[in-house]
Amino acid sequence: MGLDYKFVLWNKHKKTYDKFIALGMVLYLILFFVLTLVTNAELTVETIIIRAFGSLAIIVLHIILIIGPLTRLNPKYLPILYNRRHLGVSMFLAALVHGLFSIINFHTLGDKNPIVSIFTSNMDYGSLHNFPFQVLGFFALLILFVMASTSHDFFLKNLSPKIWKQLHMLVYLAYALVILHVFLGAFQQETSLFTIGILILGFLMISGLHVIAAFKEGKIDSAKGELDSNGWLKVCYTDEIEESRAKIFTVKNERVAIFKNEDKLSAIHNVCKHQGGPLGEGKIVDGCITCPWHGYQYLPHNGQSPPPFTEKVNTYELKVLEGIVYINPDAMAEGTEVAPIVC
């Protein structure tokens, strides 16, 4: 939230995470080089670089893909989510080194354009076993480039959150292409059961966590509350909501976060205007509801970002009867003031 764009939105914590990312990647590369030189000394340096950066990119891609479901299952993983953007760009850079070295090593020696060579050096497109796997890697790298190059708030704002999100959901297509790229490569170049086994384990881990997280969220969405005579929905007891925190409910197919701030309750739409973050998983900081993803803030009583910012979310009317919280299922317009209810 600023009136100009920053090169990178760093703060003390993000710098620490970035140092961990950089250190982890460098350590992995050193370890890969040393182990490969010890166990497979006949490989050329170029081949080791291609494999080291390729495997590094896949590992980081797996970490990126498990962060989302992990945070939905346990909020203690949220700090990792804050840095997913930097992790994504780091992963793309590793994949780019892998791709560039592969092109230089395998496609620059002939008289063909290297990009044309990627597509035509193996024309066995009808074969499942001998399919040109480098083409799959090319498309995956193209998707990762689009994602990494638009990983900035400027694009989120100017492409619109909907288009931006759709572009970034292509990560799953990139993942599928990467898996096929490595799977076919591992079969065609040297059958490596270890590589295939690791890939299958990774796929099971990612898909398993997504299924478990979807099941958990499905339970929230399918929970049916009872209506009182005025059509207000009974949601919970006042003491079920912690101070400065929220509980999330589904009302008319929309997720709503009911926050407790200084023993008063306010309800707003759960979806942050910035990137669709779950506001109800955040907390109240300095009197403002603070999105757990990127720190966007909203005032509890009107769902508006504090001036000079202009984001607004829907608000909801609440009432408390005998310690039970009721919500009017009809959302108020975005930014409408609703007086907080005393518990």
Partner: protein, 72 residues
């Protein structure tokens, strides 16, 4: 198959070629018409946005044209 590959690569090359031209215009001139926050942003930020503008130029061009239409 080779024909399909050649056509695809020509289309891809055209897309990124046009993106490059649009990107240069957008980063130095057009961007501030679309987003006033860019005016006060450092030059290095525009440089950082350049690859993304090349990648997504049809969306930004459409939005820029709509903005200019609204202004006139």
């Amino acid at each position: 198959m080779e024909l399909i590959i050649n056509v695809f690569l020509i289309v891809l090359g055209l897309y990124f070629g046009l993106g490059l031209i649009f990107g240069l215009y957008f980063v130095f001139i057009g961007g501030t018409k679309l987003d006033s926050f860019l005016k006060d942003s450092k030059k290095i930020v525009r440089l950082l946005l350049f690859p993304g503008v090349i990648a997504t130029w049809p969306f930004l061009l459409r939005k820029l044209l709509n903005t200019e239409q609204d202004d006139s």
